[in-house]
Amino acid sequence: MENLHRALAEIDAIRGQMARTTEFRGYGPATLAATGVLAVLAAVVQAHWLKIPSRDIGTYLAIWIATAALSVMIIGIGTIRRTRRVHFGLAKAMIYSAGEQFLPPIVAGLLLTIVLVRYAPQSLWMLPGLWQVIFSLGVFSSCQFLPRPMFAVGVWYLVAGLTCLALGGGERAFSPWAMGVPFGVGQLLVAAFLRYGETDDPT
């Protein structure tokens, strides 16, 4: 019985090794583009309903956290479905590997938001910039499993995040376009690179 368990563990280890050296094709261009459009829509909603966001941070956070949650859900469902179809025999290992790359930045972003809201509300203006910087780290860590041009997307999010921080606080920090443009353009770039950057050989 012990030998059988060892054999199963070795099969899992081989799959894990293969997953680590395989280009991930589980992210669908249409799904990623949809989240870009969603970010722009969220910006439009904020611009329409929340004229002075600094006076109602709760609503501002609700709009963007809901947008992020919906995006994660859309990407999650789309990725699981597509990975099962594209990565025959490796789907579980590939999904696990992709999650390993992207979940830590998402959790870090969420915890950072909670900490700033509860203990440093005076620093909340930094949130949009910090979210983008953290997201860029997620993109960079996923780069080795994605088409090479994806590195440019990481650079885009990093530059956008740092620009938000450099431009400083006040009303500008919570502008709907400080979130809508970086995430809208960024996700559309991801979709374009996924659509046109795939190689024939997934390895």
Binding site: L8, I11, I14, T21, G89, T203
Partner: protein
């Protein structure tokens, strides 16, 4: 085709190195002689599971082996079958030991 021990070892080494491996490295990894390795590689190449190319590294001729897309696919199919066989065997052993325990309990 894949189930043969040396060829399984070859493919396992090659799937872990998708960019390919030189003949010498593959020989060391699989602990095969030149002749055996050539023979097994030829079989795998004929089945289009690996591709072999010749080139130069540090001004010395080098044979390079790489698993094909079809090879990866076939290897994954093989792993899935192997996994199912092991899972079935484990379930059978568990059921048997459970049945033995139940009959022993009934006897007492």
């Amino acid at each position: 085709m894949i189930h043969e021990r040396a060829r399984l070892g070859l493919l396992t080494s090659l799937v872990a190195h998708p960019k390919g491996l030189p003949f010498g490295t593959l020989k060391q990894l699989c602990r095969l002689t030149d002749g055996n390795l050539s023979r097994h590689l030829k079989v795998l190449e004929t089945a289009r599971l690996v591709e072999i190319s010749k080139g130069y590294a540090l001004n010395r001729p080098q044979t390079f082996c790489r698993i094909t897309v079809q090879g990866r696919k076939r290897y994954l199919e093989y792993l899935a079958i192997l996994e199912q066989v092991v899972v079935d065997a484990a379930a059978a052993i568990k059921a048997e030991s459970g049945g033995n325990a139940a009959s022993a309990l009934a006897q007492t």
